[in-house]
């Protein structure tokens, strides 16, 4: 069994992406990976905090890293924003000693210290590189033959370069989809932005980006999208009807977390996967595999 410290992030733990958390835990049990949640973790601060108070934001992230270091395991998160912020903090602490001195002083005020020893991983990285496509394929009970899936990476899982896949033309999710028996649809915009949190403050602008993504996926024959990020999922799913209204389009593309799609192929139950939490329903396209 492989052991990890698990950092679910706010959206997956108590927010709109609980199904991501459930399905990540469920497939990890099948794949013999132990996800042990970090006790008393706090919000990573995401992009908003580092945009208004950089030192405070990095200290928030550093508290989580300091707590995780006591366990000596890799820390895995399903959220692309948490992944970037925690990795960014790690690399800044390494590169800028005067910045590290300030963070150390702030952590000390909370009785903590961080030596820089926690490797932060994304769930997609762990699944594709630690577990591997062959082991994943070996657990498939209901091969998803004939299902055309657009692999949507979004931005922060591959950019800036923390590592495991190409920053503009990534392949890991494509291969993962193929290992489930499904067909990865060509998707030229697969690593382009969904609008992120600007969906809240600048909705029109974000809707245009979402429309472009839906158009790219649909015009290449995709029957659904899979994402690796709670915010991407919310933007593409919960705002799809807004896109249709604004641009007079008629997209009906279900947007699943990649862990949900894996769960379907592994033959797991609805209660483990939360497929019904999707706003664009996925029942029809998944019917023959359930």
């Amino acid at each position: 069994m492989r052991h990890y410290t698990y950092f679910p992030g706010c959206s997956a733990s108590d927010g709109g992406a609980k199904a991501y958390n459930w399905s990540a835990q469920a497939i990890s049990r099948v794949l013999d990976a132990d996800l042990s949640e970090l006790e008393d973790w706090n919000c990573c601060g995401s992009t908003p905090s580092s945009s208004v108070d950089e030192l405070g934001a990095f200290c928030m992230a550093a508290r989580n890293l300091a707590l995780a270091e006591k366990r000596g395991l890799d820390m895995v998160t399903p959220c692309s924003a948490c992944y970037v912020i925690l990795n960014h903090t790690n690399s800044y602490l390494k590169e800028y000693p005067h910045f590290k001195a300030k963070v150390d002083e702030a952590l000390a005020a909370g009785g903590l210290a961080y030596r820089g020893g926690v490797r932060v991983r994304h769930m997609l990285d762990v699944m594709t590189n630690d577990i591997g496509y062959d082991v994943i394929a070996s657990k498939v009970k209901k091969p998803l033959g004939g299902l055309k899936v657009a692999p949507y990476y979004g931005c922060q899982v591959v950019r800036p370069k923390f590592g495991f896949d190409h920053p503009e033309n990534p392949q890991s999710l494509d291969k993962l989809i193929a290992s489930l028996g499904a067909e990865p649809a060509p998707f030229p915009l697969k690593a382009r932005c969904c609008g992120g949190s600007l969906i809240i403050s600048e909705e029109d602008l974000a809707l245009e980006l979402i429309r472009n993504l839906l158009d790219s996926a649909a015009s290449h024959g995709a029957e659904c999208l899979v994402t690796v990020c709670p915010l991407c999922q919310t933007n593409m799913d919960a705002y799809q009807s807004r896109v249709n209204k604004k641009f007079e389009t008629n997209y009906k593309l279900p947007v699943l977390f990649f862990t949900q799609l894996m769960g379907v192929a592994f033959g797991l139950e609805e209660r483990d996967l939360g497929l019904k939490t999707g706003i664009v329903p996925s029942e029809k396209i998944l019917l023959k595999y359930r």
């Binding site: 108590d14 927010g15 919000c43 702030a106 600007l198 809240i200 600048e202």
Partner: protein
């Protein structure tokens, strides 16, 4: 201003810019910005501090990092954008005709005070601060989420010790006077 930016982690690359425009060409939102990403760099180097910090441009940054991975000079352009927004907030210049600064501040307020982000509370607070009419328009999306159990009213709370610890760390960080 150049020295100020160079002292910020990630800001030192600003001296290397050759104004090739790759960042601007890569930016999904460059056409919405009063100044393009490459113009912002030129402005910083020309010491146009007030014009730069009151621009709306950096508030349209999506943090998609496309500019950063493409810059032929290795400049961390997205980090520069965050440095500009943080400076604008510190100088009280963070309005710029977009609600993004208000949204970011609302988010940060909850994240710091609770140590977690209650999505419903944060969104409601933001819409009330920015434009309550927009809150009205959000009701259909909110109902969709609510029906599927995706809108939690209650916030996840840290233990009392964890809350105190986070507060002590953030208070100390504030007293240390910024990032650089």
């Amino acid at each position: 201003m150049l020295d100020e930016i160079c002292a910020i982690p990630g800001g030192e690359g600003i001296r290397l810019c050759i104004q090739c425009g790759t960042c601007t060409a890569s930016c999904p939102n460059a056409d919405k910005m009063e100044h393009t990403p490459s113009q912002l760099i030129a402005m910083a180097r020309a010491d146009m501090r007030d014009e730069l910090l009151s621009s709306n441009a950096m508030w349209y940054c999506l943090s998609c990092y496309l500019c950063t991975v493409r810059c032929p000079r290795g400049i961390k352009q997205t980090d520069l954008m965050h440095a500009f927004t943080s400076l604008a907030v510190r100088e009280g210049l963070s309005h710029a005709g977009t609600f993004t600064p208000t949204m970011y501040r609302s988010f940060n307020h909850f994240a710091c005070a609770l140590g977690s982000l209650p999505e419903f509370g944060f969104m409601t607070w933001f819409y009330l601060l920015s434009n309550p009419f927009r809150a009205w328009r959000m009701i259909p999306v909110a109902l969709d989420l609510l029906k599927r159990g995706r809108l939690s009213i209650r916030a996840r709370r840290l233990t009392p010790e964890g809350t105190d610890q986070l507060k002590a760390i953030l208070d100390k960080a504030e007293s240390l006077g910024g990032f650089s």
